[in-house]
Symmetry: C2
Amino acid sequence: MTDTERARSTKGERTRRRIIDAAGALFARSGYRAVSLRDIAARAGLTHAGVLHHFPDKEATLLHVLRRRDEIDALPVLGPGIGHRELIDHLVRIVDRNSRTPGAVALYVHLSAEATDPAHPAHPYFLDRYRSLRALLVPAFAALLDGRPDPSPETAARQFIALQDGLQVQWLLDPDAVDMRAAVVAFLRSLGIAAPDRHPPDAPAPTTGTAPTPDERSV
Amino acid sequence: MTDTERARSTKGERTRRRIIDAAGALFARSGYRAVSLRDIAARAGLTHAGVLHHFPDKEATLLHVLRRRDEIDALPVLGPGIGHRELIDHLVRIVDRNSRTPGAVALYVHLSAEATDPAHPAHPYFLDRYRSLRALLVPAFAALLDGRPDPSPETAARQFIALQDGLQVQWLLDPDAVDMRAAVVAFLRSLGIAAPDRHPPDAPAPTTGTAPTPDERSV
DNA sequence: ATCAGAACCTACCAGGTGGTCACTTTGTGA
DNA sequence: TCACAAAGTGACCACCTGGTAGGTTCTGAT
């Protein structure tokens, strides 16, 4: 069976990837329910039966799209051991990058709204996503807000996440009118938390920041 | 033709209302695209052909639902002449009431996400909605933030709206875990704006709540 | 060069979609 | 009371949905 596996790891893997890329792009445009297997198949250059050869059903397609996006942003890569400032800086940098990748943003806006329905296949995913994001943010805010009790770290974390989700909707509706980064940075300043510099990656800035990962997403 | 009109204003009007009520409830559960005319018809006690006798097509149904919701919240009723404090108080009160009416919240969460797509029938509606909400909020924040320049009134308005939209998603995913009012009030406090009292309307007792207004929605 | 298994397609299924049409039933103003 | 418009129906349309069955073509390790 080792031969089998090696064989599968060539062409099959490649079209499998084309399929989830296509699915991701389409889910971003219109959400999960409004996209058909034939739409996905057409964009990937197959028949819808071809898609179902690689994935058991439509739902599996969605789950793979989400899994792949998680690999791309690799938020967990930061791990719980990361410094609080680094975490916030990293998240602000993600906001920045999102402003250049409407696709990823649209995907999450559509899916998080749909997934509100407990019967939606992505419902557990988003429950877990928000839970673990909060678990990451609460200690960070606890440290950065130290002393001041007013917004509790829990509240600050929830506000921070909510702010970004809400900004994304307004931004998608009218991209030129909304500066997501500015709004997020202003929020942090209101809490007495300094904002990271404008464009740490690239040439002149003080910090060297991380390498140019392909693209990132919504938080 | 006056006779005709008077006749129409009785039974027709009544089932017309039943239809948009049914449509509103279903759109709230699952969004616009996932709900069929037959679903709406069944809930309203008709055939789907009957629904299409009253509305030219499915889209008209959605537009009427939105128009009706606007009448209910009657945000414009406040008018531009309202006091700044009164406006903020009113909005916070709406947040409060939303916490008791998941249907209205879910309607807007679903639709605002779907309407991100420029081809969606509600796209112009939401563009206008955010625009006019901002037009109402910017002067209010300009006054209440007076002096302090840090969050510009424009930014504060955008944050305020985004915060609520984002909170609604988290709240729908896990209603018991999220206190939308607390998060909004804390945000205002961070800007140095006092929060309105807990339950201004009605008796001082913690329970009993407000009068049984049908329901209200999201801001 | 072979040949097993992966990749993929055509054809089909039952069921759902928005919308139309010709028709019957019901309500109501005169 | 009556006539006529409004309300509502059932049958139908073409089309799309996710999923299956059975077959053909391709691929790549031997």
